[in-house]
Amino acid sequence: MTTFGWPEAYFILRAASWTLALTAIAFVIGSLIGGVFAIMRLSRIKLLRRFAAGYILVVQSIPVLMVLFMSYYGLSAAGVELPPFLAASASLAVYASAYLAEIWRGSIESVPRQQWEASASLALTTSQQYRYIILPQALRISLPPTVGFLVQLVKNTSIVQVVGFVDLMRAGMLVNNATYQAFQIFTLVAAIYFAICFPLSRLSRHLEKVMNASRSH
């Protein structure tokens, strides 16, 4: 029987890079979809508003695990074979998009109304208003909660091990199956997740403080 030593710890540590890659891809794709939904949610057209609100509500009210199962097992049964990494990225991106859309909608809404009115009176089109006036300000406001959500995203990548993708969590489980030293292994796995998430949490809190300070001036 193998025991838990340096080679195993190194294997787990290397798998952490896949967790980071998955987080990054899910975040980028999720941002694109989420950004579109955030703006749709604030559209003047009722149908778009309703559709975006429905999408956000549904995705936020089902477990990420079900999104993952539907995209992996479901689509493969329907004849669309997704490799684990794609299925994992796609489902996490869908999950992220709903939360990011809601965060950004809030940020856009918290830009004072006068900014919309002033820019409209300068004859800017809606897309110009977003591009030059609203989004730069909304971006600042959205930074702390977005970084905070990133922590949730990193943690939720841990469930993709169920479709066989070797991320940090899966690596820990594989080593555990070979060595049965669960306590040490999962302590290491937890420590690595903590090392990724804790700085992000602190950054989010720090940003919040900085922004609040500048707003009260």
């Binding site: 695990l65 199962f69 841990s158 306590f183 903590f194």
Partner: protein, 229 residues
């Protein structure tokens, strides 16, 4: 698509739903109690109590629920603490929820103005009474919406407990899928059930909030007014 294979197994699905609801409610109940105790300990004991509670909260909030569950289910037996999947799930959910709830309650406690505490002490209330009536109850009322959404998230996260072979809703889904080979149909049905569960829970918690904190709507309205001003 053939849904009847899946839908005809509705008694199994119902069992899964019951277990998901049961797990969530027990974890929510125990989690609130634990979070309240930790908040009280942080407020009433010395500074080092605060450090311990903070460390616990940060540790739980910055590691995945799945890792916590596996630590309890696979890791603890190695040091002689053995429990079955259901017990491990309950413990993991309670500990996880307690950490988030403690953080949320802290925000509520921080929102209570110092003058309130001073007024309470001036009325000769003991420190414990001040904590209970002047700090904790209004704090709870204020953060109830945030707590509610955390409870819904916990209910959704309970789907992860199927990884330690607990037959709650998503565990049931895995069995039905293996029985019928109708993966897509199974997961669509179960997802819809989760959706209904989450929406019902949201409504129920809203109603409960108005019931146990009659002043909550008044307070929330006051907060909104203060923000608008």
């Amino acid at each position: 698509m053939l849904f009847q294979d899946v839908v005809s197994r509705w008694p199994m699905i119902l069992n899964g739903v019951m277990l998901t609801i049961g797990l969530s409610f027990v974890a929510i109940g125990l989690g609130i109690v634990l979070a309240t105790l930790m908040s009280a300990w942080r407020s009433l004991a010395g500074a080092w109590a605060g450090y311990i509670v903070d460390a616990y909260v940060e540790l739980m909030r910055n590691t995945p629920f799945l890792v916590q569950l596996f630590m309890i289910f696979f890791g603890l037996p190695q040091i002689g603490i053995r429990m079955n999947g259901l017990e491990a799930s309950l413990l993991a959910m309670t500990l996880n929820l307690a950490a988030y709830a403690t953080e949320i309650i802290r925000a509520g406690v921080d929102s209570i103005h110092k003058s309130q505490v001073e007024a309470g002490l001036a009325l000769a209330l003991s420190r414990r009474q001040v904590f209970q009536y002047v700090i904790l109850q209004p704090a709870f009322a204020r953060v109830w919406p945030a707590l509610s959404s955390q409870f819904v998230l916990m209910m959704l996260a309970s789907s992860i407990c199927s990884f330690v072979s607990v037959q709650e809703l998503s565990g049931t889904a895995a069995i039905i899928e293996a029985d019928t080979f109708r993966s897509f149909e199974t997961y669509i049905v179960v997802t819809v059930v989760y959706l209904l569960l989450a929406l019902t829970l949201k409504l129920f918690l809203n109603w409960l909030g108005h019931k146990i904190f009659p002043q909550v709507s008044g307070l929330a309205r006051l907060d909104a007014k203060a923000e608008a001003a």
